[in-house]
């Protein structure tokens, strides 16, 4: 690493509540552009909650409340001028379980582009191929694009979901345990893709080896707090906090 990389996501003193439940406590973090940032921590510590704040998916949770500010490329995404729909297009998301629509592979990939008004078949064809190539799925499905995405294997489905998100050419991709429902071979393919991807990725994972394999930086959350954040190698080899050390050495789960 030559220079300090450019910050693309900045969270400043973020507190988040589900009703009375204080799910995130004063979280501040700077996430670097073009890097893979992993979020680890025990179940229920707020990783998914934090991730969903970054593309305003928590807007749909009744009774949820946010304090603090989050900036993407310098603009506040919860400010009065922010457009949640626009933010979700710039910040894509891949979920824990593959969730392709009950539509053809082609229509799955086209869903986002069609929403923004791209309708010409020639344009869509180009986008579909590009997105599927980017998700390393093109060769496997190029002859069966009209087949239902539900008929693919789990790993292929998850890469359809990646391609579907990529078709909008997002600046950032959020991934919430994207390989937890996949077998080792499918996992390896998705990991391979993440390592070579040319965009900012924030990934939640329960698998510390995975975090170590694919991420540049790692954030450790514990009970709603961001305990430690730093380059992945350092965090795993020389953790600064006892809680981090206990967690990565498996002393609690």
């Amino acid at each position: 690493m030559v220079a300090e990389p450019q910050t693309i996501i900045e969270a400043r003193n973020v507190d988040f509540y589900y009703g009375d439940f204080h799910a995130l406590k004063n979280v501040s973090i700077n996430i670097a552009a073009q890097e893979v940032t992993a979020m680890i921590g025990p179940s229920g510590c707020g990783k998914s909650t934090f991730l969903k704040l970054l593309n305003r998916m928590n807007d749909f949770t009744p009774g949820a409340r946010l304090a603090g500010e989050i900036f993407i490329s310098g603009a506040s995404i919860y400010g009065p001028d922010a457009d949640p729909v626009d933010i979700r297009r710039r910040v894509g998301m891949v979920f824990q379980r593959p969730n392709p629509f009950a539509k053809s592979i082609y229509d799955n990939i086209c869903y986002g582009p069609r929403l923004v008004g791209i309708r010409k078949p020639q344009d869509l064809d180009v986008l579909v191929e590009k997105a599927l190539r980017a998700a390393a799925l093109w060769d496997e499905v190029k002859d069966i694009l009209s087949k239902s995405a539900m008929e693919l294997s789990g790993g292929q489905q998850q890469r359809v979901c990646v391609a579907r998100a990529l078709a909008l050419e997002p600046e950032i991709l959020l991934m919430d345990e994207p390989t937890s429902a996949l077998d080792p071979i499918a996992t390896a393919k998705v990991e391979e893709w993440i390592k070579n991807a040319n965009l900012t990725i924030v990934i939640v994972t329960h698998n510390m080896q995975q975090a170590a394999r694919i991420s540049d930086r790692t954030a450790f959350f514990f009970m709603g707090e961001l305990v430690e954040f730093g380059p992945t190698m350092e965090l795993f080899t020389r953790p600064q906090e006892t809680q981090t050390e206990n967690y990565i050495t498996g002393r609690f789960g």
């Binding site: 998916m57 379980r97 969730n99 009950a102 923004v116 909008l168």
Partner: protein, 293 residues
């Protein structure tokens, strides 16, 4: 000794299992048998009355001759009318309940209302339709009044089935669409509805099959004992198969002489209703292909 007990226990469990299976088989066989008996009875008695003329002609000679064409047409029109009434209302209510409504007293009340409505005897719907559509709104005894009444009758079933189908579509579909920049209505219309539609339609068509066979809701609101012509507007009375059978069997001049017509009509009605159910099942199977989750 312990070993012996084990063996004994196993033997007894085995016997119990055999007995249980036998009872279940008997129950299944019995209900199947009763159903088959009814169908065979109607087919055997109805088939002699069937002919091309029976299906395509108007009744003659005080219903003792001729066909049941206007009753078939009337039943189909009433069924279509009921569907046109119940689908928009029922699907709308189901979408509201499943997708938009925040849990609370209002939603609980609506859902209780829907559930209770499903248990109301059909004759009550008939009287309600008579008072509201026929009299108060002045639609008279007509295709319109009958369709609206039948529509209300199947509304709770249509709503409940549609809500169930919507709830069974995974929340992850919604999330995925929203995360791609869809608004809530787009997510529902483009992703949730297409996925839920087979289930929603199946429920509706099954309900319709039931409605097509109902007598009480239309006897006061829509059905004529006899019409000279097919209806040329929604304000006309229509003949219908269930009320036609009822009339022949209770009111007609020649109750005995019209037995073949009664069974013939019953058979046609049965085929119509079973046909609708089969159609519903085929539609579901077709639409579901490659869409399991």
């Amino acid at each position: 000794m312990l070993e012996a007990q084990k063996g004994f226990g196993r033997q007894r469990r085995y016997r119990e299992q055999k007995l249980a299976f036998l009872a279940i088989r008997l129950a299944a066989g019995l209900s199947l048998g009763v159903m088959a008996a009814i169908i065979i009875y109607i087919v055997v008695n109805g088939v002699p009355a069937l002919s091309w003329a029976f299906l395509t002609e108007f009744p003659r000679d005080n219903m003792s001759a001729g066909g049941i064409f206007p009753a078939i047409v009337g039943t189909v029109l009433l069924a279509v009318g009921a569907l046109l009434t119940a689908l928009p209302l029922g699907f709308g209510a189901a979408i509201y309940l499943a997708e938009y409504a925040r849990p609370g007293p209002l939603v609980t009340a609506i859902r209780l209302g829907v559930a209770n409505l499903a248990g109301v005897p059909s004759v009550v719907f008939g009287l309600f339709g008579l008072s509201l559509f026929v009299t108060t709104l002045g639609f008279g005894r007509s295709l319109l009044s009958g369709s609206l009444t039948l529509g209300l009758l199947i509304l709770p079933t249509v709503t409940a089935a549609a809500e169930e189908a919507l709830r069974q579509t995974p929340a992850s579909f919604r999330e995925a669409a929203l995360a791609l920049g869809a608004n809530r209505w787009q997510a529902i219309r483009q992703v949730v509805l297409p996925a839920a539609l087979p289930g929603m339609l199946t429920g509706a068509i099954l309900a319709l099959g039931r409605a097509a066979g109902e007598t009480a809701p239309i006897v006061f609101t829509a059905s004529a004992a006899y019409t000279l012509l097919l209806p040329d507007s929604i304000y006309r009375e229509v003949m219908a198969l269930p009320t036609h059978i009822l009339n022949l069997a209770t009111n007609s001049v020649h109750i005995e002489a019209t037995r073949p017509q009664q069974f013939g009509s019953a058979l046609v009605l049965l085929v119509l209703v079973l046909g609708l159910s089969t159609f519903a099942i085929v539609v579901r199977a077709k639409l579901r292909r490659g869409r399991q989750w």
